[in-house]
Symmetry: C2
Subunit: 340 residues, 2 copies
């Protein structure tokens, strides 16, 4: 029933006329229409007000013409729902005043009722689906357990998340306990998003690339596969383990429909590591959107040629940057649409 079915076809591995395109953080900070709303409502008001979240979600469909919408929200609503305060300082990133460092902190976390408390997300999904009117599919999302642990332990953004990693390495039992709790909430949270109407889900492991291959296998992979396994048959799952190119082969799992990659791995190598078993998504360096439009067009063509048009979703390798001109974002999407 969805008119533009390219994303779901690509996730199924079907042959498509051209690959679908969307951009991580496409609903947001580079769009004047978004900036206008940001001036009126603070971050969590935008996230928690279904009408606003839905309006922001649909903006890039109307303005940029992407082939999918992704719900405007934040991965840190899960720590919030689990009982941790999250302050969002505009352009500065998140602060969690209370962090997790021992078993008492862990015991105080909300698990069973956490996902249910995020009803504003499910409501935003319903409103968004109405606004989209079956034009394009809607992507739901959550942070991966390791990435959520990073914020819950570190308490803020970081280049290296040393404190969070040291928590894992020096107190592995506590870390696994925390990861298990986050996984449980995340499965229920994504399941509720699917029930509310999203057509597929993406899991963002934004910081997994800080782990060695062995540590990824211990602290990231089991929880990712557990989530993907739990959602089998309910929704296609896109997994974006940013920077963890070394895990692509292990993650080419039957329960994962697509793997996102960043620009530090060549498409051909990503294909070879995944044995063409999954759809790949990525991997345009967002900073390349500052190049002249003629070069963006050329590079998009080269990128699609390198991935191949099937089992491929065109995207950036990370979120779109605030200073990207809207015309350049449009040119990126248009270059995919005119791919031959």
């Amino acid at each position: 029933m969805i008119k533009n079915n390219l994303l779901l076809s690509a996730l199924k591995g079907n042959v498509v006329e051209r690959p679908p395109v969307w951009m991580m953080r496409q609903a947001g900070r580079y769009l004047p229409e978004y900036i206008a709303l940001r001036k009126k409502y603070d971050f969590f008001t935008r996230v928690q007000t279904p009408e606003l979240a839905a309006e922001i979600t649909v903006q890039p469909i109307d303005i940029i013409g992407t082939d999918a919408a992704i719900l405007f929200s934040d991965i840190l609503v899960v720590p919030q729902a689990m009982g941790l305060e999250v302050q969002m300082v505009e352009t500065k990133g998140p602060i969690l005043p209370k962090t997790i460092s021992n078993s008492a902190d862990l015991a105080a976390l909300i698990v069973n009722e956490a996902a249910e408390s995020l009803s504003y997300v499910y409501e935003a999904i319903k409103v968004t689906k109405q606004k989209l009117d079956n034009r394009v599919p809607l992507i739901g999302f959550a942070g991966a357990p390791f990435t959520i642990l990073c914020y819950m332990v570190e308490g803020k953004g970081s280049k290296s998340f040393d404190k969070a990693k040291q928590f894992c390495f020096s107190q592995p039992e506590l870390a696994h306990d925390l990861l298990t709790r986050i996984t449980e909430v995340t499965i229920q949270y994504l399941r509720n998003q699917i029930k509310a109407g999203v057509d597929c889900v993406q899991i963002f492991d934004s910081w997994s690339g800080l782990l060695s291959p062995n540590d990824f296998k211990e602290f990231a992979q089991p929880y990712l596969l557990k989530i993907a396994n739990a959602l089998r048959g309910e929704s296609p799952v896109i997994l974006f383990p940013k920077g963890s190119w070394y895990a692509l082969e292990d993650l080419s799992d039957l329960n994962i429909a697509a793997l996102g990659i960043d620009w530090t791995i060549h498409p051909a190598l990503a294909r070879s590591l995944t044995h063409n078993k999954v759809t790949l998504q990525g991997n345009f360096d967002p900073n390349h959107l500052l190049k002249p439009i003629s070069e963006i067009e050329k590079e998009v063509k080269q990128m699609i040629d390198a991935f191949g048009k099937d089992r491929y979703i065109v995207n950036l390798g990370h979120g779109i940057l605030p200073n990207v001109p809207v015309e350049h974002a449009k040119a990126f999407v248009q270059a995919v649409k005119s791919y031959k």
Copy 2:
């Protein structure tokens, strides 16, 4: 004439009884003896006073027992020598109030006389060599041109150096002009360090891993190879292109004695990509030094087994962290020394 010749043997590819070990940032913030000096002298006083720099350089040889000393200094002395002010805010990182954004900024940079003006570095090397008294070799160093460009354009540390990358992508001619100037100064700077007495040099490309393989080939690799080529026959060159695992094969060049790697690539893959043509250095995650000593010992043994004892220099995959207990650093080094 150097009594402990393990590092230079490993750089030559000779068979050794055990691999040498040193740690990036081994002279510094985790050592109480360093912290005592930090309380008395500000950062650039420590760097620019040969007696102090030499004392700090030798501290880990006496206290931790590493097989090499690395000069206490900073990669940002090169932008300073080229005419840019660098402020070092303790625990906050560097600030460059004036950055490079156009050709006038570029034209104002000092090139010809820059390396000569760093005489305090060469003096520190001479004092250090006296203090070391041929116990272990002394490593000199410089930042790689791309990494120095990152700071000169961005003006501060960053997770993603978007401004610096956008400068490269939107003004490539200016970027290459800047990289060429930095390369010229760096060659002269390293040559002067060698003349003053360092036994080998390391080039830190701390941010090259933010580049795609193609962009690395354009903005990092040519300048790295130019430096290595210029120093041929004068000193062994260790190159540490952090995060740029994808470039290991291309960098397995005759003029590069060793390649440093971080923990995101398995030793066996690094060996295979470099066809055993170069010595490898790394790749212990510094956060693993927070594990119990018995585990550090076990992991060091596993790491040496994975790399093989020859053509290998034991090191961390990044600088040692401020909160590592001195006993753990000692255990890391001791585990290498008792490797069988």
